[in-house]
Symmetry: C2
């Protein structure tokens, strides 16, 4: 069926013949290994040039390293990952490792991430960075027993793999504190489906939800708790938020679990005509756009990506003990919550006492 790939391409053998040396000699030149005379090196380099020779990574990988770092990502639509990728890519550009990205199947639900991670491992990457909150710890530890793994956004600690994660609880609490300080009492939370927020699972979205619930309770607003859920995507967030707003007394604020959802909520809020503050999470690029101006939490994806790659490299260099690094997020206040505040100040809304749910 499929023919042998790279047919007709020069091999190390061809180069050796052309240069009149042994394969081992060529290999040494290639790897800059010790024990080659300058004269031979020149001859070999010339032959490589002339034959347009490039070493096959597959053959290389069979013996040692593939000089490839795998990156597993869910959902390319989420621009936060663009930031992460930029950080990773920049850090890697000084090395001779190549970055390879495997997208997780979007509709895999609970199984999300397994296939892509396996695909990377099967391709013998030297290390893997992954964003897979849903993959089981057991499975990950098995994976990391043969391939170094750095997890992004996991709060669990493992002695087998490293992790870098934002402090989601702190970030979410900062948002809630901000909204509560503004005087909001009917604050809703828009998040993803249950399987992403399983209590105790420690996923970022589970923690953000818990922080929301806790802050509401602490503020004596436990009765006003209202959680809406939707699939990934601005469109779904819009629909869910619209329903939330139309169904019963509308919230005065919506805390969305991430910016993409927040933007959908913003759209629904604007269309509804109600004065609704909206906050998100991630500080996606577009959040700063004036006509959106979304209050959100900055996570420095660049830094997270960069740190993840650094950890991988230090693992490859022999580090044994695992690292669990927590990045402190920062609240970014913008108009999506200001505007309402201003109006609210002017109108001096009387505090609602009726429980708000439904």
């Amino acid at each position: 069926m499929a023919e042998s790939p790279r047919k007709g391409q020069a091999t190390i053998e061809d180069v050796a013949r052309a240069a009149g040396v042994s394969r081992a000699a060529v290999s040494k030149v290639l790897r800059g290994a010790y024990g080659v005379s300058p004269a031979m090196k020149d001859r070999v380099t010339a032959a490589i040039e002339e034959l347009n020779y490039r070493p096959r990574v597959a053959a290389r990988a069979m013996r040692g390293a593939s000089f490839t770092i795998g990156f597993e990502l869910p959902d390319f639509g989420n621009p936060f990952f663009t930031r992460v990728l930029a950080g990773a890519s920049a850090t890697l550009s000084d090395t001779n490792y190549q970055l390879i990205i495997a997208p997780a199947e979007p509709d895999a639900r609970e199984r999300q991430g397994y296939r892509a991670l396996e695909a990377l491992a099967d391709r013998q990457v030297d290390g893997v960075v992954a964003v897979s909150p849903l993959v089981s710890q057991d499975w990950l530890e098995r994976l990391s027993s043969h391939t170094p793994v750095v997890m992004l956004g996991r709060h669990d600690r493992s002695s087998h793999y490293d992790s870098v994660v934002g402090d989601d609880t702190a970030g979410a609490r900062a948002v809630m504190r901000h909204l509560l300080d503004l005087g909001h009492e009917r604050i809703a939370h828009l998040t993803r489906p249950e399987y992403v927020t399983t209590p105790g699972s420690g996923t970022p979205h589970a923690l953000r939800l818990e922080a929301y619930l806790q802050c509401m309770a602490e503020a004596g607003l436990g009765d006003n708790v209202r959680v809406a859920r939707c699939q990934e995507g601005e469109g779904f967030a819009y629909a869910a938020a619209a329903e939330l707003i139309a169904d019963g007394e509308p919230p005065t604020a919506i805390f969305a679990a991430h910016d993409e959802l927040a933007i959908g909520a913003l759209r629904a809020a604007a269309e509804s005509g109600h004065d609704i503050s909206v906050a998100g999470y991630d500080n996606v690029l577009i959040a700063a756009f004036p006509r959106i101006s979304l209050t959100t939490v900055d996570q420095s994806g660049e830094q997270m990506g960069a740190r993840a790659v650094e950890m991988l490299l230090s693992r490859l260099a022999g580090r044994q003990e695992s690292i669990h690094e927590v990045i402190t997020p920062e609240l970014v206040v913008r108009e999506s919550t200001h505007e309402a505040k201003a109006r609210r100040g002017r109108l001096r809304l009387a505090p609602t006492t009726v429980p708000w749910r439904r």
Copy 2:
């Protein structure tokens, strides 16, 4: 240094031993090849399961196929590529090919794409889809002599590689016609640096620029031609547009070479206080957001991604003749140009006769 990867992982040999058969037998079961008794198949499958065996792609690739499709992409920040990726990914999900993405180094300028494409080829992907308008045709033909290649967004035809490309001339002309119909005379074009728009190079941005120039000339507005340039990124576009607006008599419309630039221009226009229509290209998701509502050209990235993958698969299945497919784009009119139209209609602006440049 780096130890042999996958140490301790089961090999085909281990499976064979556990099942009490030969390696060849296991291989046959793996590939569903002809000539295996059901009994043996069961034993082998059980052994695979038990040992948690997974075939190494690298070893496989040395003999035949790697069942991997490589995707080379510049600039992850551009959400248009998200659409392309979605289409490609969906098409591939029914096959047993795995999608692997290699990002091009962002700051490589003219050299952009070479490194990432080589990295993919070195990793023995069975085929490559690439967005590399700047790579030379010669080089691509050499590449495609051993690895099937489908190019996205190239207008040149080759008998060696396939291509799928939007009709940039038609799309840009549609935008210009729309702006001219609205009565605009001082229309500026915001595009990327010279090396991306070299006249005659046939890159999408070169064609959009040429269409702009031609339409201006045809409308007798040759003297009003004004081209601003900036690096990739909303921030750079903002700065360039702001300068464009501040420097001399401001344009009444800006045609940006793609949506990300258009959004920067939109921001600059809004801040300037002038009434400036803005149009983009690509119909990125956020363009539809009400507070942005950007007039743009839809290219169906999903369709392009899907077609590219289909072409690759048919190549792998043995197709010989090359295909060059042109996708017809569609103008999407939104408020970013409507608003101005309405106002312009009301105000009945007298046509400017003074040449506008500077």
